[in-house]
């Protein structure tokens, strides 16, 4: 990648790849559009609601995993752009999770008793619902002003809930499958890799801090 020399030297230079964050938003919303068009044309098959529920669930997991891959990617490559698309990816994941839940509610005729029964009695649904609940405060504190209000350290701790959410999401996917666990296995491996990177990096950082005598 080559960047213009003047940009490099200016102190408040424009961020590189300025089109990337809006591009991620547009690209992330495209599957929803495709889903809508497929629903209208009948391309979702004989059981379109079921299909749409599955697809929005998969998109949620994929986007969550991508948002959590941003920091490791930035650390491994020293690229800066992953940090600038992380928020968009996280919010898109929330949008698809909300859509997934809305479709599930529609599927069950918005009957509170049915939903309550599912959430309380069926671990498969409990896990998915818990993941969604965890994403709510993250989406609500995604603004710059929320970071300021909470203070960065607290905001960061809160946003580690994303790891719990993606793990619960992967579990929900695993429990939701009848027999073939290929998809859920891939999801679980990706989540495990994200956790591993996070743990290793956290340990490395602690060691560095210990060396520098910065013990907390």
């Amino acid at each position: 990648m080559s960047r213009a020399a003047p940009a490099r030297s200016s102190p408040r230079r424009a961020a590189p790849l300025p089109w990337l964050p809006p591009g991620v938003v547009v690209g992330g919303l495209l599957p929803a559009l495709v889903l809508l068009l497929d629903a209208r044309s009948g391309a979702l098959g004989a059981n379109p609601v079921q299909r749409a529920i599955l697809q929005t669930g998969l998109l949620t997991l994929a986007l969550l995993a991508l948002s959590l891959a941003c920091t490791p990617l930035r650390l491994l490559t020293s690229w800066t752009w992953p940090a600038r698309v992380r928020k968009a990816l996280g919010l898109l994941a929330f949008v698809y999770a909300a859509l997934h839940f809305a479709l599930y509610l529609f599927d069950h005729g918005f009957t509170p008793q049915v939903v309550l029964d599912d959430v309380l009695k069926r671990p498969f649904v409990t896990a998915g619902f818990a993941a969604l609940v965890l994403l709510v405060p993250l989406a609500a504190t995604s603004t710059r002003s929320a970071v300021k209000r909470l203070g960065f350290a607290r905001w960061q701790r809160l946003h580690q809930l994303a790891y719990a959410a993606v793990a619960l999401g992967a579990l929900h996917y695993w429990w939701g499958v009848k027999k073939d666990h290929t998809g859920p296995l891939i999801a679980a491996l990706i989540v495990a890799a994200l956790f591993a990177v996070r743990l290793l990096w956290g340990r490395g950082r602690r060691r560095k801090k210990a060396k520098a005598g910065m013990r907390f």
């Binding site: 098959g45 004989a46 005729g109």
Partner: protein
């Protein structure tokens, strides 16, 4: 082509029949793949002629019979049945076939016969899904003898006035309309009368989720979802699921005194 409407028989439902295009492209048939669209794509490799069916076990007249001879033994009947999948969707299927009872009477079960075991074809060359050990092949299903003798229980060879499509179980499949769809085994090659309850494929694969009886029962939830409602294919909203899939008047007496929560 408009078909002449025949008068409805005593076992027929008058509900709207599921369009042929949907009934033949949305199938659970793991022998041809795990996705519902897979069987329609992959079942072309199944050769349904010549096809022989072995009927043996606790019978006085065991026989190995060609499918065309077998179906010439009985007058074929139209039956419009509801079909409820354990996953929570349903269809209305106009089958063509003969009552299993007629076949059983012909081959004469002995006094020891208590169950009927059905075995499907086991040939990974014709059934590519069998290269995947996702289930223990061949697919095996079973019924209690009185369930097998019930007039609703059908051996189907046709669908909607046509020969049964491969993805729907050609050339010979079981249809038990008051039980979840997985009981209605496809591509049957063997029917064995037994003294002991057969070990059936899904009940072996996941005993907490799929029982031997598998009667449609809205009040016994699957561990992962409620069975109280279902989506009729082609409809957007769910509808309530009926006990015994709406055939309670005909079959509930078979289970008198049984705890249907235990024998799910």
């Amino acid at each position: 082509i408009a078909q002449a409407r025949r008068p409805l028989g005593p076992y027929d439902t008058s509900e709207a029949v599921t369009p042929y295009a949907q009934a033949t492209t949305y199938n659970n048939y793991y022998e041809f793949g795990l996705d519902k669209a897979d069987p329609a794509r992959n079942a072309g490799s199944l050769r349904t002629r010549p096809w022989t069916v072995l009927i043996d076990g606790e019978v006085r007249k065991p026989v190995r019979v060609d499918i065309d001879t077998l179906q010439s033994w009985f007058p074929l009947e139209d039956r419009i049945y509801r079909m409820r999948c354990v996953e929570g969707w349903s269809m209305v299927m106009p089958w063509l076939g003969f009552p299993l009872a007629a076949l059983l009477r012909r081959i004469e079960p002995t006094g020891k016969a208590k169950y009927v075991q059905f075995t499907a074809l086991n040939d990974p060359k014709q059934m590519p899904g069998q290269r995947d050990a996702v289930l223990d092949w061949p697919y095996v299903e079973g019924l209690r003898l009185d369930e097998a003798m019930h007039p609703l229980t059908l051996m189907a060879v046709g669908l909607q006035g046509r020969i049964l499509p491969n993805q729907n179980g050609a050339p010979l499949r079981l249809v038990v309309p008051w039980k979840y769809g997985f009981k209605s085994i496809k591509a049957v090659v063997r029917i064995t009368l037994t003294e002991k309850q057969p070990k059936t494929t899904w009940a072996l694969a996941s005993p907490t989720e799929y029982g031997f009886y598998a009667n449609v029962n809205p009040s016994v939830p699957h561990p992962r979802w409620s069975q109280a409602t279902e989506r009729r294919i082609g409809e957007l909203r769910r509808r309530p699921t009926l006990p015994f899939n709406g055939y309670a008047d005909q079959v509930a007496h078979l289970y008198k005194g049984m705890d249907l929560r235990r024998f799910f």
